[in-house]
């Protein structure tokens, strides 16, 4: 589904990301772990054509993302709060995204109904604009919005951060369900090794922009990763 070729990103001569070759097959749930500055967000930003690669390219479903925009129709993503429109209510935001993805109101309502538990009664019909929600609740909105319109690629940057423990376990359930769908490729980045190991089939560890580990998840994975990141 996603092919990375000779990809690198440099800022003023400093290489922040350098991936020779990486293939993510369709249907995989892919976890990206690493310390701060390892290049996780940079990689996702490149994948979403928000920044330009210094060399190489990324192809998503055989579409080179920085030359052709057609990947947008099958990609859902949430990187941070700048993906939210502060002056809208959560409902309006969902319908707005729905409109852009050619989903009618009923489709969106059905999706929201399915995730009512995840919202925990704090999102819908609360008479608040998105800008006035807490960080955790903003994140809930952003994550569910990526699911609108049945995207084939879902990209979530640090989805577990800022969420309360109950919501984290509910989010894991949602990601696992998505991972079971053979048509959906999920990409998740996190600092939290345990959460990532739980929801992903495959884990790639980045360090200073380079891939240092690439493992299929098994019982020993968590231990292996913890050992690697321990100083």
């Amino acid at each position: 589904m996603i092919q990375v070729n000779q990809l690198s990103k440099k800022y003023n001569g400093t290489t922040v990301l350098n991936i020779d070759n990486l293939e993510i097959p369709k249907g995989q749930s892919f976890g990206l772990v690493g310390n701060n500055g390892a290049g996780k967000t940079t990689f996702f930003s490149l994948l979403l054509d928000l920044i330009q690669p210094s060399t190489g390219n990324i192809r998503s479903n055989d579409i080179q993302v920085n030359t052709n925009e057609n990947w947008k129709s099958f990609t859902g993503s949430f990187l941070d709060e700048s993906f939210l429109i502060g002056y809208l209510t959560p409902e309006e935001y969902f319908y707005f995204i729905g409109d852009l993805r050619h989903q009618n109101k009923a489709d969106v309502d059905a999706l929201l109904a399915r995730h009512e538990e995840f919202f925990n009664g704090e999102i819908l019909k609360n008479k608040k604009y998105l800008r006035d929600l807490s960080k955790g609740n903003q994140k809930k909105v952003g994550i569910i919005a990526t699911l609108i319109g049945h995207p084939e690629v879902i990209i979530l940057d640090e989805p577990f951060a800022n969420l309360d423990p109950t919501t984290v376990s509910r989010l894991k359930k949602i990601i696992k369900e998505l991972a079971e769908d053979p048509n959906v490729t999920v990409l998740v980045s996190s600092h939290d090794l345990q959460h990532t190991v739980e929801v992903c089939d495959r884990i790639v560890a980045l360090n200073k922009g380079e891939i240092v580990k690439d493992i299929q998840t098994s019982k020993e994975t968590l231990q292996e990763l913890e050992l690697f990141f321990a100083v």
């Binding site: 928000l50 920044i51 947008k72 993503s77 939210l84 502060g86 008479k127 604009y129 006035d132």
Partner: protein
């Protein structure tokens, strides 16, 4: 302690988004600033001689209207001058004493654009008075009193800014006083003018404004200090949200989706609401030109462009910056640029249309004047609407929607590319109209301007493709500029 604060401020200033432009641009901006300063100073100097020529005593005439000047200043401040509370939060837990923080924050407002802009008029005016043989001590005292009054307004604004819609009350007062004076029912200036004049004649009167200023500062200081808590003075006001569907816009497809969003954008944010108010003020711009024989006829079209173009200039200028806080989202969604730009274009066109209808009160000056406004609107729709959207591609200033200020006082919003694009917006129609007047008569001039508007309208698709290309080229630099929060 204060040294640390000044260090922080200096860093904030030099590291702002578009300040880091290249050297050539900095020099150009420098020249423009000098140029405008000279114009303003010229006005301050000129005021004396113009009033003299009109056989009016300059100082007493200025004193007569000072009351309106200060009232109007207060309205402008309430609308635009933002109180810098946001930067205070990180300081609260650092080892600064609270009084230091408050003194600094208040001191910072003293350096605001809204205060020193007055110096451009009053300083040269006072100097000219001194040169022309007025009593020097009197002038200094008068000037000092004016300065105090300006700062009284500054602190009044800080105290009053928490009260919503207060500026409407002040506008009401100004209009009522103005009308009462015009119709000779009640003249406020008969009470205030002697006071302002007295500041010059009876020197000790200066203590009144100075003492008020000191008292007001003490009061503001106490008020600020008592409210220096996250859930008091530093809290954000939360609005009660209502979900609006605006489903009647659904019939327009993608265009409708964006229009829905834009309507909510304008309705729910302070900054965008200010632009609506500004565009209403623009409606009255023509009053300066029409029925005023001092203005050359060629300037009529200038007014015509402005009357209907208020929204176009204040809102359109900042497309796509209005969407800056969620620009990354827009760039990852399946959004055709064409649809996005078209929606903004329609917004501008609809607003221009409404302005033109509202401007029908100019029919009072005769249908020829109104025709000028209609022709201006045609030019705005055909040519200027495209130019502002094109200019938007270069405007990489993130907009803080929750902040009402910054529409003018924001140094960061100053952009030379956008400035250069204003030339064809205003000068071209004036040139065309002037050419028409020179070769024939008014009708020919209007025809030429309207013709340019229609031509622009016909070429719409071509121009849109060009704008689209420009937006795409600027995509990455725009994203990275918008990431810098002001």
């Amino acid at each position: 302690m204060i040294k640390k604060f000044i260090y922080l401020e200096w860093k904030a200033f030099t590291r702002s988004a578009s300040f880091g432009a290249n050297l050539a641009m900095k020099i150009l901006i420098g020249f423009l600033m000098i140029y405008f300063s000279i114009i303003f100073i010229g006005m301050g100097v000129g005021a004396f001689y113009i009033l003299k020529k009109l056989n009016l005593e300059p100082l007493s005439t200025v004193n007569k209207f000072l009351i309106y000047y200060f009232l109007f200043d207060l309205v402008i401040r309430l609308l635009m001058q933002a109180i810098p509370v946001l930067n205070i939060k990180p300081l609260l837990v650092l080892p600064f004493k609270k009084p230091t923080i408050v003194h600094f924050s208040l001191g910072k407002t003293a350096l605001s654009f809204f205060n020193w802009v007055h110096a451009f008029f009053f300083l040269p005016f006072s100097i000219v008075l001194a040169i022309e043989g007025y009593d020097i001590v009197g002038i200094i005292v008068w000037h000092f009193a004016i300065l105090s009054l300006i700062y009284i307004n500054n602190f009044l604004n800080i105290i009053l800014s928490n009260i919503d819609k207060l500026f409407v009350v002040f506008i009401g007062i100004i209009l009522a006083l103005g009308a009462a004076q015009y119709y000779k029912i009640f003249d406020i200036t008969t009470f205030t003018a002697p006071f302002f004049q007295g500041l010059y004649n009876i020197k000790w009167l200066v203590f009144i404004p100075v003492l008020i200023l000191i008292g007001l500062y003490a009061f503001t200081f106490k008020y600020f200090k008592n409210n220096l808590y996250l859930d008091a003075g530093l809290s954000k006001k939360e609005d009660i949200a209502t979900t609006e569907n605006l489903s009647w816009l659904n019939q327009f497809g993608t265009l409708g989706t964006f229009l829905k969003n834009d309507i909510k954008l304008i309705k729910r944010n302070k900054r965008s609401k200010t632009t609506i108010l500004m565009s209403v003020l623009f409606l009255f711009y023509g009053l300066i030109f029409f029925g005023n024989s001092h203005q050359p006829a060629v300037m009529h079209i200038f007014a015509g462009i402005f009357v209907s173009g208020g929204f176009l200039f204040v809102f359109g200028q900042f497309v796509p910056s209005w969407d800056s806080s969620y620009y990354q989202l827009m760039m990852t969604q399946n959004i055709p640029y064409r649809g996005y730009i078209t929606s903004k274009w329609w917004l501008v066109v609809i607003a221009t249309f409404i302005s033109t209808i509202l401007a029908s009160f100019y029919l009072f000056y005769g249908w020829e004047i109104y025709l000028t406004i209609v022709v201006g609107a045609i030019y705005n729709i055909g040519v200027n609407s495209h130019l502002v959207l094109l200019g938007g591609a270069f405007t990489k200033t993130p907009i803080d929607l929750s902040n009402a200020g910054g529409a003018f006082g924001d140094k960061k919003a100053f952009n030379v590319n956008a400035m250069l694009l204003t030339l064809p917006k205003l000068l071209l129609p004036v040139a065309l109209y002037g050419l028409g007047l020179y070769l024939g008569d008014k009708t020919l001039g209007l025809l030429l301007v309207a013709g340019a508007g229609f031509l622009g309208f016909i070429l719409r698709n071509k121009v849109f493709s060009l704008i689209e290309k420009r937006y795409k080229m600027e995509k990455y630099s725009t994203i990275s500029a918008y990431k810098q929060k002001s």
